[in-house]
């Protein structure tokens, strides 16, 4: 059949291009702004091409920071954000894969109760339990620490449910074959279940890393020292200034830097879970 090319066959592409432009243009402007000097940006005449101050601005952002508002180099903030995002992502995956393993493969009293209790916490994100959680963290003396920043965010019903669903699709015969092959429960977990879960783990890691990286409210409450600031909070502080000029070139460089790790994680992990999707067969 000969396909007739009409204007309508190009329409989807046109719509996609418009969509991409809408998303990408502000990002591009942010990048451009991060390469000009403050005077050019503030007089409203900033050209739409990269300026000459790229190295200078990024050097200042990463190693010095703004001169007035945040008082900290963004490099440190990125480190804090990275620690937080990684701890949350890895912690969530570790805890939920083990709890899902327990719920699916072991028969213990109140197993279903445990499952429902985990399920119910879906309705209790940090924003809802913020006061009691803050009280606990502060009573434990965990304010201004990585532990305080991450532990309350680690418990995860979503990830537990996802692993549970996945484990339920693993055929029972595989467990039985393991038993006959002389593998104990933890050995079955390590040798069979974990390798089969790689795809789910990769997908969850992407989601949870971005979730952790983008945390705003909780770090805002828990951290008071400048050295514990995360990059998301840093951006906010840079933009809202009471009595000084916003250093837009630094704020924009920070915004660009804040985007990079999640983008990198998505690009790197995408390979793994596409590979996983193609290869995994139960």
């Amino acid at each position: 059949m000969v396909e007739r090319k009409t204007i309508f066959s190009y329409l989807p592409h046109l719509i996609l291009l418009i969509g991409i432009a809408v998303v990408a243009f502000p990002v591009y402007v942010a990048f451009v702004a991060s390469t000009w000097d403050p005077a050019t940006i503030s007089n409203g005449q900033m050209p739409l091409r990269p300026g000459p101050h790229f190295l200078e601005n990024y050097y200042q952002t990463i190693f010095v920071g703004t001169s007035r508002t945040t008082r900290e180099p963004v490099g440190g903030m990125m480190f804090n954000s990275l620690v937080m995002a990684l701890t949350i992502a890895i912690g969530k995956i570790a805890i939920s894969i083990i709890s899902a393993f327990a719920i699916v493969y072991f028969r213990f009293p109140f197993r279903m109760t445990a499952f429902w209790v985990i399920f119910v916490t879906l309705m209790l994100p940090v924003e809802v339990r913020i006061y009691p959680t803050y009280k606990i963290v502060s009573d434990l003396g965990l304010l201004d620490s990585y532990a305080g920043l991450t532990i309350p965010l680690i418990a995860s019903a979503t990830a537990t449910l996802l692993f549970r669903q996945f484990f339920m699709t693993v055929p029972d015969e595989l467990v039985e074959a393991s038993k006959i092959d002389g593998a104990g429960p933890m050995q079955f977990f390590r040798d069979t279940l974990l390798p089969l879960s790689i795809t789910s783990i990769a997908a969850l890691f992407v989601i949870q890393f971005i979730y952790g990286w983008n945390q705003y409210l909780w770090p805002l409450l828990i951290t008071t020292r400048d050295s514990m600031q995360t990059i998301v909070i840093g951006i906010k502080k840079m933009i809202v200034t009471q009595d000084a000029l916003t250093e837009w070139q630094i704020a924009m460089a920070t915004a660009v830097l804040a985007m990079l790790p999640p983008v990198l994680v998505v690009i790197l992990m995408q390979r793994l879970f596409v590979k996983g999707l193609v290869e995994t067969e139960k």
Partner: protein, 358 residues
């Protein structure tokens, strides 16, 4: 040396569901025992109890003389082949076979030798480095068997291992399983719902129904002397014709039936069993004790070497199947007379379905 003995084994599930109701089976060392029965008859449960995957509610399971009720599956020295193969998808064929040995801390060079030997026997050497998903159904089945062989267990357990294969491959694998079991001489228990598989594989055939053993014995004994109507209709294809008859002076009595003089039909009536393949077309006078059946042909199935003829007997609507050799040229609607000799007649109790006489 590796006899499997089940002694009054029972399985009661939560909610008082009795899946296995007191089963005694002895599988002599090196024998091939096939458990056969309709779904839900408890045959798989029984196999899983031998494997240790289900607990035994009461009774004893002994392997090679030792009671194994409380042992973990891995401690029973058994190997099992599952219906869906249950290969580890992320491991290579080699690792799939070696896994159980590694867990038992077998020396590396011995693992290697045993895996290579099993691969050679099963002709899967070229696939050792592949993953299960890169194999066809038949090859996966071989790997699953390989995993059982390398362990050199006392007992092989097969849980409907061929039912995921297509018909041609099934016959081929059936022959290979039998050859392999003969060659290795390992006591085997095999579960299937396919009576043909059961007949061809078994040294000892155990027909199960509703959690009980209906009859156990050599396959041909079961075919020739079924202990009940259940066994009679389960073993043999097409199934045995079972005709309810009344007692009369001259023997059995039902419309369309002649002869049968001297058959010990009890006063209350009985069920007369005749296998389709024992019916022959005849117009001559019946020999002593033989039974003749006359019915109008309603359907004819010619499959080449033989022809199946169907028709209702008398007014009862009881459909009779006759398996006639060659191309029996019969038109639907024409009447036919067939007969079976005395030694091919089976009598069963009308109510219990148990065999009457020898």
């Amino acid at each position: 040396m590796s006899e499997v003995v089940l002694d009054q084994v029972r399985k009661v599930y939560a909610g008082n569901v009795e899946a296995v109701r007191g089963v005694d089976i002895t599988v002599p060392s090196g024998a091939f025992c096939v458990l056969v029965g309709p779904s839900g008859c408890g045959k798989s449960t029984l196999l899983r109890m031998i494997a240790g995957l289900e607990t035994i509610t009461s009774g004893d399971c002994r392997i090679a003389g030792g009671r194994v009720n409380e042992l973990e599956p891995a401690e029973r020295d058994i190997a099992m082949v599952f219906q869906n193969y249950a290969l580890y998808p992320h491991m290579s064929v080699y690792d799939n076979m070696a896994y159980g040995l590694r867990n038992r801390r077998t020396p590396k060079d011995e693992i290697d030798a045993r895996v290579k030997e099993a691969a050679r026997i099963l002709e899967i050497t070229p696939f050792l480095e592949r993953k299960p998903r890169q194999l066809s159904g038949g090859q996966r089945q071989r790997v699953a068997m390989g995993r059982a062989i390398v362990r050199k267990p006392k007992v092989f357990l097969f849980d409907e291992p061929l039912s995921n294969l297509d018909a041609k491959l099934r016959i081929q694998m059936r022959v290979e399983i039998k050859k392999l079991q003969r060659a290795l001489g390992v006591t085997s228990v095999y579960v299937t719902h396919d009576q043909l598989e059961a007949m061809t594989l078994a040294d000892t055939l155990v027909v199960m129904n509703k959690g009980l053993v209906e009859q156990a014995g050599a396959p041909l004994d079961l075919y020739e002397k079924p202990a009940s109507t259940f066994v009679a209709s389960f073993i043999g294809a097409p199934p045995m014709n079972l005709i309810p008859v009344e007692a009369a002076e001259a023997g059995p009595k039902v419309t369309g039936l002649t002869g049968g003089k001297g058959l010990p039909v009890p006063a209350g009536g009985a069920i007369l069993g005749i296998r389709p393949e024992h019916l022959v077309v005849t117009t001559d006078a019946l020999p002593e004790g033989a039974v003749g059946l006359s019915f109008p042909v309603t359907a004819v199935e010619a499959v080449g070497a033989e022809t199946f003829v169907y028709g209702p007997l008398g007014g009862s609507g009881q459909d009779i199947i006759a398996r006639l050799p060659g191309k029996a040229l019969l038109e639907p609607g024409t009447p036919v007379s067939v007969a079976a000799t005395r030694d091919h007649l089976h009598l069963f109790d009308k109510d219990s379905g148990k065999r009457i006489g020898a």
